[in-house]
Each structure stands twice: as C-alpha cells, then as structure tokens.
C-alpha cells in the first residue's frame, strides 16, 4: 500500500516534471523564415502597439475618472452631454490611424498574393486525415501521414518531443527558390498551414488555391491543418524540410529513382502471388495504419458514422471485386486509396478484411485481381 502510494507519487511527479521540461512555448507570433513572414510579424507588432497605446489612453482616462470622479469623494456631477467638436475629433483620429494601418497591410498583402514567376510548383492535396504532395510535372508524389503512435495519444506510451507534429514523410523544398503551392482537397475543406512561412491556404474540394513561399533558412518547419475537417482534424500535421538547392536536387533525383524501382516492382507483383499468411500479416499493418481510424481495429466501425466491416455483406460475399473497387475508388465519405497504396498493399488489406474478425471467406486476393478491377476488367 505504502509502496504503491510512493510509486504513484513518483510517477505523477515524473509526469509533472516531464510536462514542464517539454514546455517552451513562444509567447508571440513567429517571425518565421521568409521575407513575407517577417513582414507579417512586423505588421502584427505594429498593430499591437497601436492598440496598446489606444488602450492606455482610453483605459487611463476611464480609471482616472473612476478614481477621482466618485460620489464618495463628494464630487458634484457635471451636466455636459455633448460636444460636436470632441465627437468629430474622435471620429476623425481613428480614420487617420486606420489609414496608417491599411497602407502597409495592403502592400504586404499584394506581395503575398502574387505567386507568379515561381521556380517550382507543388500540388498539395488534403484528405481525411493526411496530406498528399506531388511535384508538379514529375512522377514524384507521396502521402504524408501523422507519425505519432496511437499509444502515445491514448497515454499508454510516453509522449515524444514532437508529439502530434511529426509525419512519416515530410514535404521537401529548396531554400532560396520561389515555391508555388497548388492547394486542393479530395473530400472536405482542409487548410494547409506552416506558421514559419506565414502560409495558410484552404484546401477546397473541386477548386485549386495558390500560395507561395521563398524560404531563407534551411531547416525543419512544423504546422497543422487549420480547418475543422472531421474526427481526426487534430491529427494531420504538416512538416516541411527546406534544403539547400544542391541537397534538394540530390534528394529529388533519389526520389525519382525510388519511383522507377517501385514501378518495376509493381510489374513483378502482377505475376507473383502472395501466400495467405503474408497477405494477412501485411494486410493487418495496412489496416491499422489506414483503415482502423474509422472502421476501428475490431472491424465494428462506429454505428451511424462509419460502417462495420465485420460481417458486412460486401466483405463476406463471393465476389471481392466490389470490395476492391471501394478500397480503390472510395465511397461517399470514404477516401480512395488507389493513389496511396500499391496493388500488393490493396490486395493484402482486402484479404485481411475478408478473413479477420470471423469474416472467414478464405478468399485470397492477389495484386493481379486488384489490377483487373483498376483497369475495369
């Protein structure tokens, strides 16, 4: 009992000190690492000080009055109740202040909204609840997904330093170049935000928004989705690595090579067949990473919001084609995984869903089957 209490106290002390040491929150807006974000910071401080001065004057007059013009001090109230001169004055002065704010604000805004003459274009696509990046005009594209383990979120593991602000594959951009972003969405509205660049742009399904940045310092910059986009809105961070141009070019060449290798691999998969055990193993991993957030680890879904797969008709009938089609192309609220997962991965996850949780169809789906559905066979 006593030992238990001591252990508990020690643990809670540990928790407290851990949370203190992890805290170094800045108290102000970031200056960021671009010329624009520096201008935005300056504007922010400029307006802040204007407000502060107005506040001191107005609240000063008010508190002076509260201290001195009180009945308990025996003052007799004055009777004045209008003065055209004063009233015109305190309507006019704010106008002048507003012009002094609007002028520099408009200049910065015009610069921010001019994405012309960019050196590189990246297509940014939001979907529930991850980001997809494609280097415009190339084959290099990938998803960027939250890397924090769900055990950390559910307080089973200790939380890492970059809790909720880490992804499996960050976006990589070159420093010193004008990078243009084309932002859109596959489902609901998201908003792509990197505070250090002062870039926040909504990702609207069916429309493309433009934004741009030119990063001055190499480094790693973190942001988050800023528009409520459903259940896991809090769990789709943005991470961007800015590399020196030479390093960026090397990285990019490497990515192109990886893509080529992957395509070759995909062709090989078409002629190969997976064993049931391999498919189930791989499928479970894919399921946990991509499907369990909605359909739940138990396959039971969330009634009314996300359908159950356990015992569902589509996952247990004799014809897996419909099932494969939904995973490939999505359905209503469900995203399409055709771009995100390889043929083998989709084959594995469909196999898993058709055999886990007592769905026992004993059916083994092969990459070739997925390819057939994809090509409309």
């Amino acid at each position: 009992m006593n030992i238990g209490a001591i252990k508990f106290a020690a643990a809670s002390l540990g928790l407290i000190s851990a949370s203190v040491s992890a805290t170094d929150m800045p108290l102000n807006l970031t200056k960021g690492v671009t010329d624009i974000s520096g201008q935005v910071y300056d504007l922010h401080m400029y307006i802040f000080w204007i407000c502060t001065v107005i506040g001191i004057v107005v609240f000063g007059a008010m508190f002076w009055s509260i201290l001195h013009h009180r009945k308990s001090k025996g003052v007799k109230p004055a009777d004045f109740h209008e003065s055209t001169k004063v009233e015109i004055l305190w309507t006019a002065i704010p106008f002048v202040i507003l012009i002094a704010i609007a002028w520099p604000a408009a200049k910065t805004l015009l610069a921010m909204e001019d994405p012309s003459e960019s050196d590189l274009t990246i297509e940014v696509t939001g979907s529930q609840w991850k980001w997809h990046y494609k280097y415009h005009g190339t084959d290099v594209e990938y998803y960027s997904v939250l890397a924090t383990q769900s055990e950390q979120i559910h307080n089973k593991f200790e939380k890492g330093d970059n809790y909720l602000l880490e992804v499996d594959r960050p976006l990589v951009i070159p420093t010193g170049k004008k990078v243009r972003f084309l932002v859109t969405s596959d489902d609901v509205i998201h908003s792509w935000w990197v505070p250090a660049f002062a870039v926040k742009k909504d990702a609207n399904p069916g429309f493309i928004n433009e934004a741009w940045t030119r990063v001055n310092e190499a480094g790693l910059y973190r942001g988050q989705c800023a528009e409520l986009c459903g259940k896991d809105h809090g769990f789709m961070p943005v991470v961007v690595i800015a590399k020196e141009p030479a390093e960026f070019d090397a990285w990019f060449a490497e990515q192109e090579q990886i893509i080529r290798d992957k395509k070759a691999e995909e062709q090989r998969w078409l002629s190969m067949s997976m064993s049931m055990d391999d498919a189930m193993d791989m499928g479970q991993k894919i399921y946990t990473a991509n499907c369990a957030a909605c359909h739940q680890a138990s396959g039971e879904g969330l009634p009314g919001a996300f359908p159950a797969l356990k015992g569902s008709k589509i996952a247990t009938n004799n014809n897996p084609a419909e099932h494969i089609g939904i995973v490939l192309n999505g359905k209503k609220g469900m995203p399409a995984f055709g771009k995100q997962l390889s043929l083998a991965e989709i084959a594995a996850v469909v196999t898993y869903e058709r055999n886990a949780w007592g769905n026992n169809t004993k059916q083994l789906v092969q990459p070739k089957d997925v390819n057939d559905v994809k090509n409309g066979k």
């Binding site: 949370s19 805290t23 170094d24 929150m25 102000n28 970031t30 935005v40 922010h44 802040f48 506040g55 107005v58 007059a61 008010m62 509260i66 013009h69 009180r70 009945k71 003052v75 109230p77 004055a78 004045f80 109740h81 209008e82 009233e87 305190w90 309507t91 704010p94 507003l98 704010i101 609007a102 910065t108 805004l109 921010m112 529930q128 979120i153 559910h154 307080n155 939380k159 809790y163 909720l164 609901v188 509205i189 908003s191 505070p195 002062a198 926040k200 609207n204 069916g206 942001g223 988050q224 989705c225 800023a226 528009e227 409520l228 259940k231 809105h233 809090g234 769990f235 919001a305 209503k332």
Partner: protein, 531 residues
C-alpha cells in the same frame, strides 16, 4: 408623470392581477413580463447546458493526450456548445430583456403582438430538445462546428444533420417573430410625446437589432435548407462535382453570421448606455452619436462578412475590400467606447453591481475589439485564422461582452422584476470570481493562438500543455462562479431580500422607474405623456 402612473395602478385594480400558479399560466400567457421571465430563465438554463459542454471540452484539453472523450464526441461538444450559447443563451436572453423592458421603457401596456410573442417563446424549448436529443442518436449529433461548413456538414455528416437543420429552422422562426414584435411595438406603441430621438438607447439598439434579425435569419434558413437538400435530396449547391461550390456555403453562412455577431452585441451597447449614466449620475454623452454609431455598425455589418474567409482563396481585390470595410467598423465602435468614458468623466460615480459589470464590459469588450482590429488585417489574419487567437477574440466580445452585459442588465432591473433587492454578498462573489476566472480562462488563449495552436482540436502538442492547464482551471472556476448567480436568482424569485423601492438606483432615469417594484402585472394601460 407619477400621477398618471398611480391612475394606471388604480385602473389595474379592476383587472385581474397575475393569474394563479400552475403550468397553464406559463403556457398560455400573453403577458410581456411573463414571457420575458420565460425567455430569461430559458436562456440561463441553456447557458448552464452550453457551459457544461464547455467543461467537457476543457476537461479533455486539461492535458495532452485523449483522456475523457473521443475526437468525434469532442467535435459534437464544440459544435453544440456554440449553437446552444449563440441561439439558446445570448439571443433568448436579449429577447427576454426586450420583452420585459421595451414596453415599460416606451410606456406601452404590452408587446404589440402578444399571441405571437407566446408562440415565439414556446417553440424554442422544442428546437433545443431536438438539437440536444440528436446527441443521443446513433453516430452522435452535429460534429461539424457551429459554422457547419459544407461538405463536412453535407456529404460527410451523419444522419442527425436532419435534426440539426430542423432545430435551426425553428430557432430562426422564433427569432424572426421576436424581431417583428419588437419593431411593431416600437413603431406603434410609444407613449405620446416619445419621439424616436427620445427613446432610451436600449430601445434604440434593440430596434436596429430587430431589423438585422429580419434581414439575416432567412439567409440562415436558406443555408440550412441547402445543406439539407445537398445531403438528403441529391442537390449540389456546395459540391463542385455537381457544379456547386463549397465556398459558396461560407459566403451565405457569413452573410448571416456577421450581422449575427452584431445582433449579439448591439443590445449590449444599449444596456451599457442605460447603466453608465445612472451610476455616473450624469446624462449619457453624445446620445445622438450613439444612435448614429449603432446604425452605422448595423449597415457596415452587411459588407464585412468575408473577413471570416480570408484563407479561402479570394481575389486580392476582395481581400482588400473586406479588410478595409472591417477596419471601418472600429470607428463607430470606438465612438461608443469614447462616449461611455466621457459619460463617466466628471460624473459622481458609485459602483453598485450593475455598474461593476458595465465597467468590466467596457474594458474587456474593448480588448476583444482590439484583437478584432488585428484580425481584420488580412496578411496577419492568415496567421491568426482558425487558431486560439480567434477563440480568445470572440469569447472576449461574447462572454465578457454580451454575457457580462446581460448580467449587468439582470442586476440593474432585477429589483424591478422581483420587487426585492438581490443578495449583495452573492452578487459580489459572482462578480469577482467571474471577473478573475474569465480572464484566466480566455486571456492565455491569445498566447496559445499566437504560438500556433489551431482551434477545434481535441489534443495538442506538448508546448501548449501548461497554458491549456491554466485555461481549463479558469474555465472550471468560471463555470462554478455562475452557481452564485443561480443561487441569487432563486432567492430573488422567492422574494427573499429587502423590498426594493420603485427607483432603487439613485441616478436612474426612465419610465420603468416610475412604476412600483415589483412591476404590476399590467403597466401603462393608460399611456403616460412625455414632455
């Protein structure tokens, strides 16, 4: 004037007094005072309901990680908290105040349309019963934020959206009827001699508010109807796949939503303009400019809506227009604050409870005004947008703004309503605990937002942990502080306390103080004559 009032009371003797107890009195009542009381109690209950949802939110955000609720339920809490506070607490409270006070302030015997008045109140409990019941449906209630942006609220929402839409329709119908009643009453039932420019400012601000309500509530009704048909009947207003546009939804919503913001603050300006002169014992400074400022704010409120949407990808000309139009609103709003300070200047102030809340309002609302001006600046708004900086801003103007003004009004007129002075000890506890805790609750949100914490997230990065802990502690304390007010209201309704004089505040002026406390069931059946 007092002789007329006596005659009025005498006349009253021939009529029935307040009908006996029982539910039927309240169900069938057409009396503006009864309906005002119903509205005010309903608003206070909804304030506690919406507040307890805020407690769930703050409990989950007390520490990083998911502890108490799952993200889907968290989103339902933020959504329904917003809806309940806006449509269930603030708006009905102001309508309740209008019901009680507008006829008494303009010397009218009742509202112009008493049966519609009854109806507009009694559909409200049904609207909120439907909304709250949807939380218990399979899949849960609305979880797309009180702004219900499409397509999150259409293609990607659950079936309870139908209930949400229906309940918003009922709330809208209730508000429109309430507004019609206020306008008809003010235009037709002012006592002889009470010209428009002699009306008390609370009446003026409500008059203007009522026009805003009639203008924009139908727009909200249109928005929810389009959401309904997009979701259930295959239309594509907000889906690009069918030729629609999700951003169109935001334009429609905020064309309602921004005037709505002023619907929730103009009556507050009226209340403060009644209270400050009373306790400064000096007439309101710049009455005419107050009226013009209110009207200008109302007109400008129709041309600023897209400042909620700077990140949606507007043309730069649009951004500049909405930035400048929004900044302009600070001019008439500034005039109001300057006028209140000038009213206090060289007055003889005392600091009874209504005045304390009014002073807190002026300071804290102005802080919310400053952050509002900062948010208007488009390039900087890109950084603030959808962070806790915005949450701090609108809670300063809505909690320490609108709700503090409602508290001020309740303390100011409670002796008139109940006939007894409220318990000063409880009132002091209520004020000071609320004042401290509300700032512990909302002030750190500015910093958390500037540091980059998005709003509407159930879990956050570790750097935000310490501040969120304090915010939650402030939240719990602010929630508990409201129980003092509940106790005080119950005591006042049970008539426990010293009897109140007809004019319990030395410096008060206006027709409502010419009649005894508590106000008789029928007042001004013979109109008073204003010189």
């Amino acid at each position: 004037m007092s002789s007329i009032v006596e005659q009025d009371i005498h006349a009253d003797d021939h009529h029935h007094h307040a009908p006996g107890g029982g539910i039927k009195r309240w169900l069938y009542t057409t009396n503006h005072k009864d309906i005002g009381t119903l509205y005010l109690w309903f608003a206070f209950i909804m304030f506690l309901v919406g507040g307890s949802m805020a407690m769930v939110i703050r409990a989950e955000l007390f520490e990083p990680g998911l502890q108490i609720v799952e993200p889907n339920f968290f989103n339902q809490m933020t959504t329904v908290h917003g809806l309940v506070m806006v449509f269930g607490a603030v708006m009905p409270a102001f309508t309740g105040l209008a019901n009680w006070m507008v006829p008494m302030m303009i010397g009218a015997p009742d509202m112009a349309l008493p049966r519609m008045n009854n109806w507009s109140f009694w559909i409200l409990p049904f609207a909120f019963a439907i909304l709250l019941a949807s939380l218990f449906m399979e899949g849960g209630g609305p979880n797309f934020g009180w702004t219900f942006y499409a397509p999150l609220s259409t293609t990607y929402s659950n079936d309870s959206t139908a209930l949400f839409v229906f309940s918003v329709h009922i709330m809208g119908a209730s508000s429109i009827m309430g507004a019609i009643n206020v306008i008809v009453t003010i235009m037709n039932m002012r006592a002889p001699g009470m010209t428009y420019m002699k009306m008390p400012l609370f009446v003026w601000t409500w008059f203007i508010t009522a026009f805003l309500l009639i203008a924009v509530m139908p727009v909200l009704a249109g928005a929810v109807t389009m959401v309904l048909t997009d979701k259930f009947f295959g239309t594509s207003f907000f889906s690009a796949a069918g030729g629609g546009d999700p951003v169109l939804f935001q334009h429609i919503f905020w064309f309602f939503g921004h005037p709505e913001v002023y619907i929730m603050i103009l009556p507050a300006f009226g209340i403060i303009s009644q209270i400050v002169p009373t306790f400064a014992r000096k007439p309101l400074f710049g009455y005419a400019s107050m009226v013009y400022a209110t009207a200008s704010i109302a007109l400008l409120s129709f041309v600023v809506w897209a400042h909620h949407m700077f990140t949606t990808g507007m043309p730069v000309a649009g951004e500049l227009f909405f930035m400048i139009a929004t900044m302009l609103i600070s001019v008439p709003t500034g005039v109001k604050v300057f006028n209140w300070v000038a009213t206090m200047w060289r007055g003889a102030m005392t600091f009874e409870m209504p005045m304390l809340f009014a002073l807190a309002f002026i300071v804290l609302f102005t802080i919310g005004g400053f952050s509002g001006l900062m948010l208007a600046i488009t390039p900087v708004d890109f950084q603030y947008h959808d962070t806790y900086f915005v949450v701090a801003h609108f809670h300063y103007v809505l909690v320490t703004g609108a709700i503090f003004s409602i508290f001020a009004a309740a303390y100011y007129w409670l002796p008139k309503w109940s006939g007894v002075m409220f318990d000063k000890k409880l009132a002091n506890w209520h004020f000071w605990c609320s004042l401290v805790s509300v700032n512990v609750l909302f002030f750190p949100m500015h910093f958390v937002g500037l540091a980059g914490m998005p709003r509407r997230i159930p879990d956050y990065a570790l750097q935000f942990a310490d501040f969120n802990k304090w915010i939650s502690i402030g939240g719990f304390a602010f929630g508990l502080s409201q129980l003092f007010f509940l106790a005080l209201l119950i005591k006042a309704c049970r008539k426990q306390g010293e009897p109140a004089a007809a004019k319990p505040w030395e410096g008060a002026e206006g027709l409502e103080w010419e009649i005894p406390s508590p106000a008789p069931y029928h007042t001004f059946e013979t109109p008073p004559v204003i010189k």
